[in-house]
Symmetry: D2
Subunit: 288 residues, 4 copies
């Protein structure tokens, strides 16, 4: 009886030099007799870096992460690769953090329900009760963890315990209005996605719509990015904009912005879940 | 014999209060028996300001700026109006300043030749010789005025003399890489339009494409704005963006940006020439 | 005791001639001492038509539709106007028709809940049970009315009875996959809004995403429009597009399209509810 | 003494099956010791087709088209490939056809002058004299070949003779208002690029802006495509759109459209010159 076919995605970055592509392709063919479904690569000429994403299927038996790691290690070491492999049959566990604005959450939940996202939506954490009905409707466990200046570090410990219990791979900040501590952020490198309601780097920080309105911009934007220690400075994943005019006073500008927030956040989540994002030098490479 | 019909545009801003619209409309009808071609208005609710643009035609004899000014003054004073009137049969005189990048200049010249712009292109001033062939081809007088740190104030005096001689109404900085002095800028309030090669307020100042590339943005932009004393801080007239990916290394990003620069600058020029822009509080109202 | 202030919107279209604007403005001021909040106008030069939208507030007592109609009639007749007036304190009754694709419905319900739409969501009608849980969650009455070729006319009678009972002003077809009969459409002129999943007039009719994919377009679109007797031929209210590449096989193209459908439908609904749309000659004028 | 490095691009399409990528990569490495600069691939799942673009450099001596063709033929035959190879040091010869609207021509000439396009602009052919001054200014040979119904086939013979003399690789129809005969089109398969001033397939044929205006669309578009025997039905290369409102009467709509035409045509030309386009089943794959 043939083993069932397995699909996996290999992501690599390393110093650019001759022979990488052929070495990787030959490795995969020789060891696993793969069928290559997609192969994308990118060079940063200035920094001399090479990036590759290979999506492939194989009927090889004994194809799991540990086995692959063992045989791929020498090649990876030879090229000084950073790399990871992800298996399509292992959906990631996702947590959503949200405060009282629910438009991104409602959008994410609907997309998950209609199978746009291939993941396990493990839990929702909020410092407000507002999201509970939506969480209940979509049958996602909801945790109400209010935060004050005094309780913040304790609450973060609770949050991290919940993430650990649920083996969470990805945290989505869907308009979560609390700033996570550096320690929290460090625990999930390139695994926390935030949506900021401006076209970064313009209007970073608080109340970006108010700032955009005051500056009189003709387009407003939204940005999804990985969270790093410095607020709103992490690698940008996706951005979009929409036109505003003098007819858009602040409330209308905020309403138009909500549509952008939904779009840029959902695209970032999808690309992350599909292992399409590589991050380096505070930038992202999107193999879309 | 009937007088020929005259078309004019009246632009007004004043504190918002009841009765402005009806007063203006009735004034125009009673004094000049006008046919209203377009009437646009805008309120800034927060600041309590009212803005209006009325485009109208009239067969009334003796309809010129001086006569209008005399009869309109009491009404304007009653509402504390800032206002101006422009006559369609009096095209504005325009000067273009340019350095060595000629894409915006070539675009403006072609648009002028094909009658997109209703103006008199009086002269081109440059600190480089590069633009001379284009100026000659399109038969626009060209002045080569090189600038060094030492000669700058003298050159500005020459430039202003040329503008004065030509009764220049509007100065277009089409990638002119010199910073004008505050005195120069003050002499042409809301009458100098610049194009900046970023989505302001992001990446103001020098080398914005390099900065955008370094930050890893997913959209690059360009901005046209009125020049004020503070560099890149004047009222924004128009902005546009285009998508970039990791495949766009710096040269490609710069090339894509040039298309944006042409578009946002030409739209700003057209709106200005058509008297569609009101400016206040470092913003613009565009009656497009 | 002063009467409370009333806000209303007057929409007019008529043959273009001199004196319309001043007549309307003076009428409103003299009869109701109005404060004009917004006045927009448009001319179709080719067809010689004039369009106006005036939003105003008044403290006048006895200001209701019947009274206004009585005093405005002579002026309206003099200019051969089509016109209507809408009062801000009278929210419209809205019905949503939907089949088994729920993304537009979920979006509309969330926007209504967060007060983006100023209306009374009276009922949801569907030929499938799929929408019931969402309807229940958002507490909107749900009617399951399955349709077959044989039962169609009977079902339409039921649908119309429900609309009549609920005094429905606007019907939204949120991916309702049944074609309404001409008699139904005639009963709600310019009061049925549909979303079509293509950039009309391209790919009208069935399976537009399949057709777009087969043609190899580089942008896909969506269109919201008023429904008329001829399928997909009614006046277009809003359109938007998004970029696709060879990487977008059909499922991805459909997913991207859903985002467009939500946007163009919600904008059309909002503009209709705010009385910002005039329709003529199978076009729309949007006073946005 | 080492031979100088050569850069080339290999474009392939063939039935999709296992082993293509690895075979091609290994071939290039083994025969020419290449350094792969870029490798992009695409599958059309539905049609079972595979597409690949490999850009590489090599220091191998004796690397020219004839030599490559000889050694690559067996592999190509084994996979039933359509393929071609292009060398970066061999710029293509380009002809531009234009009538009396010059905006696309002016744009192409400026881009060529500023080195956006890597090609030899061999000649301009027009059925009007209008383009001659621009051709002279940019020093491109200009041929005035007026066309009437009677002279058309004779003129086409003259045009083809000029193309042959100049070894023209690519013909750009920059708003050339004559329809080429099937025989002409057949002589340059996938080597004639046209710009159509609508968002195809909407408004194919004559006067698309008039048709778009009459239909009341909210976005207008432009399309660049390869010319095939059926007018406006060839594989689409690029499309773009811009927003219009009721304020855009026909002249304004045409003006906005010109900006789109320039953009979509110049992008198509650039991608073609960079060997980034594969065409199949009346579609294009763009490796951008």
């Amino acid at each position: 009886m043939p083993s069932p076919s397995t699909t996996a995605t290999l992501l690599i970055d390393c110093p650019d030099r001759k022979g990488i592509v052929v070495s990787i392709i030959n490795f995969l063919v020789q060891h696993y007799d793969v069928n290559i479904l997609n192969a994308d690569q990118h060079q940063d000429v200035e920094l001399g870096l090479f990036f590759m994403r290979v999506e492939f299927s194989t009927d090889a038996p004994h194809f799991d992460e540990a086995a692959f790691r063992a045989v791929f290690a020498p090649l990876a070491a030879g090229f000084s690769m950073n790399w990871r492999i992800a298996f399509a049959n292992a959906p990631q566990n996702v947590a959503i953090f949200v405060s009282q604005y629910l438009h991104c959450l409602a959008d994410l939940l609907h997309r998950h329900q209609t199978s746009e996202f291939h993941c396990n939506l493990a839990l929702i954490i909020s410092n407000h009760e507002a999201a509970r009905p939506l969480a209940d409707f979509y049958k996602v466990p909801f945790y109400y963890l209010p935060v004050t200046a005094d309780t913040k570090s304790g609450v973060e410990a609770e949050q991290q315990a919940l993430l650990a219990e649920n083996n969470v791979d990805l945290v989505i900040l869907a308009r979560y209005m609390q700033i996570l501590s550096p320690a929290f952020v460090d625990a999930y490198p390139r695994r926390i996605i935030n949506v900021h309601h401006s076209f970064l780097p313009a209007f970073s920080g608080a109340r970006p719509y108010h700032a955009a309105f005051a500056r009189g911009v003709k387009l407003i934007g939204a940005t999804s990015h990985y969270v790093t220690e410095v607020l709103d400075e992490g690698p940008i994943i996706e951005q979009d904009v929409t036109r505003v005019t003098q007819n858009d006073q602040l409330p209308s500008l905020i309403q138009k912005g909500r549509d952008l927030e939904r779009l840029v956040l959902s695209r970032a989540v999808q690309w992350h879940l599909d292992h399409r994002i590589l991050s380096y030098a505070n930038k992202t490479v999107i193999f879309a």
